[in-house]
């Protein structure tokens, strides 16, 4: 076990936009078990069997930009305001995204201009976000499918531990026909409700949004006297090394990511009081995730309160891990676990303690936020309560 040296990292700001609204509306919405799923209007779905998704009201976004960039700027600015940071000259940025400014990719097919091609670079999206908000620190981008937001948060933790004072980290992904058509082809989407861990679950629906966390050197945060939501204690990344599109059914990669994260956080198994699940409601993921939790926690896995936020806002792809990290942070801070909607009969193979009906007050010392990406990329974040 390594000896931990270096500063602790805390979360001092949260900015978010989803189909349920901004940070406060999303949090109130998930606590109330509201669904943000609706008919898709941002592109024509006539050629598809599925017509619904977690589309957000884009009128609140900065206009004239690629929607993924616009959502990212919204989330980023909201996070900085929440953390009461005005001087951003030395604030760094870590961005996770599945496809970045995908409208540029779609546009390139129609007119292969320099501007649209340059917009296709994933780092270009990060530059747009940083330039629009004036961030003058280090900036970096990562893309590891549905785990992108978590990987960005993990990279931010690495940076804080090695001397960077403040990093804003998170992810953004807009709902576009490109992503929709791919997942439609894979047969991973449902024509019904999203039902994580349910016996009759039949898949996910896509959503869109962004979330950014302000991650700060703990000592600096205390000196500033700013509110601290929680501690970012650790992270883990792993790969199933199994199949291009399907997860390892035994959950060994997911279990490895969770174990790595707990070891990194130096947290005991018995201190984990909540799991914010990846919970996509596909036939394969939910049983795999249950097996992974059983591998790590033993029978205690079935007693830890679990929530699956995707039941309400859909799968936000690269942004989902960031949004779920934000919700997990708020859960730890407020001591309450949101419900999962759509779950009526628990699958016998998925007997986790999924909170249903209404939100459950839970004293959470430490929570996990799981993200198990397309292509077998597994991520886990460890978020802990800060006492005092």
């Amino acid at each position: 076990m390594p000896v931990r040296a270096g500063p602790e990292a805390v979360i001092t700001g949260i900015g978010m936009i989803t189909s349920l609204g901004d940070r406060d509306h999303t949090w109130a919405g998930v606590l109330a078990g509201r669904s943000g799923i609706k008919e898709i209007t941002v592109f024509c779905t006539d050629n598809y069997r599925i017509h619904r998704g977690g589309e957000l009201d884009r009128r609140c976004l900065p206009q004239g930009l690629d929607p993924t960039c616009a959502m990212g700027i919204y989330g980023l600015q909201a996070a900085l305001a929440d953390a009461e940071i005005e001087d951003v000259e030395n604030v760094s940025l870590a961005v996770g995204s599945n496809m970045g400014a995908v409208s540029q990719l779609e546009e390139f097919c129609r007119s292969d201009s320099y501007e649209t091609a340059f917009g296709c670079r994933l780092q270009t999206m990060t530059d747009v976000l940083a330039d629009r908000t004036g961030l003058g620190g280090i900036r970096i981008t990562t893309s590891v499918a549905c785990s992108s937001g978590a990987a960005a948060v993990g990279m931010a933790l690495d940076m804080i531990r090695r001397g960077t004072d403040v990093v804003v980290a998170g992810g953004s992904d807009a709902l576009t026909e490109f992503k929709f058509s791919g997942h439609h082809l894979l047969g991973s989407m449902t024509g019904e409700e999203i039902r994580p861990f349910d016996r009759d679950r039949s898949g996910m629906l896509l959503g869109e949004g962004a979330a950014f966390l302000v991650i700060e050197n703990e000592e600096r945060a205390r000196r500033r006297g700013v509110r601290v939501y929680a501690k970012l204690s650790g992270y883990g990344l792993a790969n199933d090394a199994y199949h291009m599109t399907a997860p390892d059914p035994e959950g060994s990669g997911a279990a490895l990511a969770i174990e790595q994260a707990l070891a990194d956080a130096m947290v005991k198994l018995g201190e984990v009081d909540h799991v914010n699940a990846h919970g996509t409601a596909t036939r394969l993921n939910d049983v795999m995730e249950t097996k992974a939790l059983l591998q790590v926690f033993g029978e205690r896995a079935l007693q830890i309160p679990v929530t699956a936020v995707k039941s309400m806002i859909g799968h936000l792809l690269g942004a989902s891990a960031a949004v779920e990290a934000a919700v997990t942070t708020l859960s730890v801070f407020h001591g309450i676990v949101p419900p999962t909607i759509g779950l009526t009969i628990v699958d016998p193979e998925c007997q986790v303690d999924c909170v249903v009906g209404s939100a459950r007050p839970v004293s959470i010392r430490t929570a996990l936020s799981n993200s198990f990406g397309f292509g077998g990329i597994d991520a886990c974040l460890v978020i802990s309560r800060v006492d005092g």
Binding site: D112, D127, M155, M159, F178, N239
Partner: protein, 270 residues
């Protein structure tokens, strides 16, 4: 600030597929002109996989040749500026022009910026720490930095890391003349036979601060040369190739990959 584990970090081997083959002895090099992916991944996969995935897997196979890897304690960290953008472009062009019914699920599976690292992990059975860095021309060197951190933090014992770029109409539209290529290192804790030793790593907003971070990371050391790679024809791969070229040189040499605008990473080798 030093890492959590004090020790010695080495570049055990490397696999390169590139137009430039002027690399030290011990680097397993294949010229791009002679590269036939079928020999590495088979005919069916060659037909289905994006070129970047093909290059990355082939270079990884070259890099780990003769090694026994423990999947759970090994990792993959790859840097790429453009990823599998060619597959992304082709997939959506098919959807846009002919409709979604005529698009390919397999091509969609290849259509991503972080797919190549996943293909390497899958082919070599590497389950540990896994990441793709998309920091432009700094991405390949940043991948080496991130790998050293992961080893120091006790997450893994060994990492296959470096940079890869492929050709695509998207990339050519921006860059004009450009090349494909891949350079992957096997980095682990020493001692042992190695191509070179990593003395320090760091990141920063610009080359000066990135070098300073790497110097703080290492024990007291004199840098004989600081090479900054910010332009080149092979994206994230160029700086990693430069790192390999500098191995075995006189004294400690710092190699920095610089994307500009705050994305910069440095590795000091000797």
């Amino acid at each position: 600030m030093s890492g959590y584990k004090q020790g010695r970090w080495i570049i055990r081997s490397a696999g390169v597929i590139s137009e430039s083959v002027d690399l030290p002895r011990g680097v397993n090099t294949l010229s791009r002109a002679r590269f036939d992916p079928v020999g590495f991944i088979g005919k069916a996969e060659t037909k289905m996989w994006d070129r970047v995935s093909q290059l990355a897997v082939a270079a990884a196979i070259l890099a780990v040749e003769g090694m026994q890897l423990d999947g759970a304690s090994s990792g993959v960290v790859i840097g790429t500026e453009w990823g599998n953008v060619d597959s992304i472009n082709r997939f959506f062009a098919r959807v846009a022009t002919r409709g979604p019914r005529f698009a390919s699920a397999m091509q969609f599976a290849q259509a991503g910026y972080g797919v190549a690292a996943g293909m390497v992990a899958g082919e070599l059975g590497i389950k540990g720490y896994h990441l793709t860095i998309n920091g432009g021309k700094a991405a390949g060197i940043w991948a080496v930095v991130q790998s050293v951190w992961a080893i120091r933090d006790g997450r893994i014992n060994l990492a296959v890391c470096g940079g890869v770029e492929g050709m695509s109409s998207v990339r050519s539209t921006v860059e004009g003349e450009c090349k494909e290529g891949v350079a992957l290192l096997v980095v682990s804790e020493g001692p042992g036979d190695c191509l070179g030793e990593i003395r320090g790593v760091g990141i920063g907003v610009d080359p000066d601060r990135s070098l300073k971070a790497a110097l703080v990371d290492s024990e007291p050391i004199t840098i004989e040369e600081h090479v900054i790679v910010e332009r080149g024809l092979c994206g994230a791969t160029d700086a990693v190739l430069m790192l390999l070229r500098k191995l075995g040189g006189k004294g400690a040499i710092a190699v920095t990959g610089y994307e500009g605008k705050g994305t910069c990473a440095t590795v000091i080798v000797s």
